[in-house]
Amino acid sequence: MLGLYARALEVSHIPTAMVTLFPEITDKVGAPRTLHVPFKMGRPCGEPFDFETRKKVVDQLLELLTLPPGTRAIYQDKS
């Protein structure tokens, strides 16, 4: 359902960047920009209280907003 939100927002000229745990699924639904993360369901931005990882996820999502629709980024565990 989240991919449908992404698509509707983009149709309305609002760019989106979306975390994905399952790229096959988000590719099929056609989410415009995705960041594939190596985390578990229920913890899409990393483990509780791991704020360093959280910051990296948000920073990489923000960077993804500046890239063209169709970009399939992969989470980088670098600072």
């Binding site: 939100y5 056609g30 907003l65 500046t66 629709p69």
Partner: protein, 169 residues
């Protein structure tokens, strides 16, 4: 939450965590494929943008009505989350993910504090005061597509939101 829902939640979470491939296949089979991509671009530098968060992890204010997880069709409604909320004011209602992690630290599904930090650091203009909590795991998305998605899009347009970060459950 009804006993029946609790059992359904436990079975579903056991299935998805132990048979992740099969879970993916099940989800894939219930989804229609979109071949074309809508294309939107930032209209101003990121450092001037108002950015909103959208989550399908069932995030909502403790003071709001929880999502109706007893409805077998799912609850396609949304909850508004302002940007001045504290982590202690948030909770998570979802039956297809183990919510105990997000309840101890909501930022793992809803990184609002990190988005606000990005604004304080000048990476974005401002964290939106309108953010959206949704309850994912809905297979039949017809009601969401007809009613709720257009409402959120209108809300975002009215708020002058420039971009959105989307986080699943």
């Amino acid at each position: 939450m009804k006993m029946k829902t609790q059992v359904k939640s436990k079975l579903s979470r056991t299935f998805s965590s132990n048979f992740t491939k099969a879970y993916q296949k099940f989800t894939m089979n219930h989804m229609k494929e979109n071949k074309s991509l809508p294309e939107a671009f930032l209209q101003k530098p990121l450092s001037q943008c108002k950015v909103a968060l959208v989550s399908t992890a069932g995030v909502h204010l403790k003071s709001d009505e929880p999502f109706d997880v007893d409805n077998p069709a799912g609850d396609p409604s949304f909850r508004l989350i302002p940007n001045d909320v504290t982590e202690q004011e948030l909770t998570v209602t979802h039956i297809y993910i183990d919510t105990k992690f997000a309840k101890t630290d909501p930022s793992i599904v809803f990184p609002l504090q990190q988005l606000k930090k990005a604004a304080a650091d000048g990476k974005i203009g401002v964290a939106s005061n309108v953010n959206i909590g949704l309850n994912g795991g809905i297979l039949d998305t017809a009601i969401a597509e007809k009613d709720f998605i257009p409402k959120v899009v209108e809300l975002f347009n009215n708020e002058g939101i420039d971009a959105a970060l989307l986080v699943p459950g």
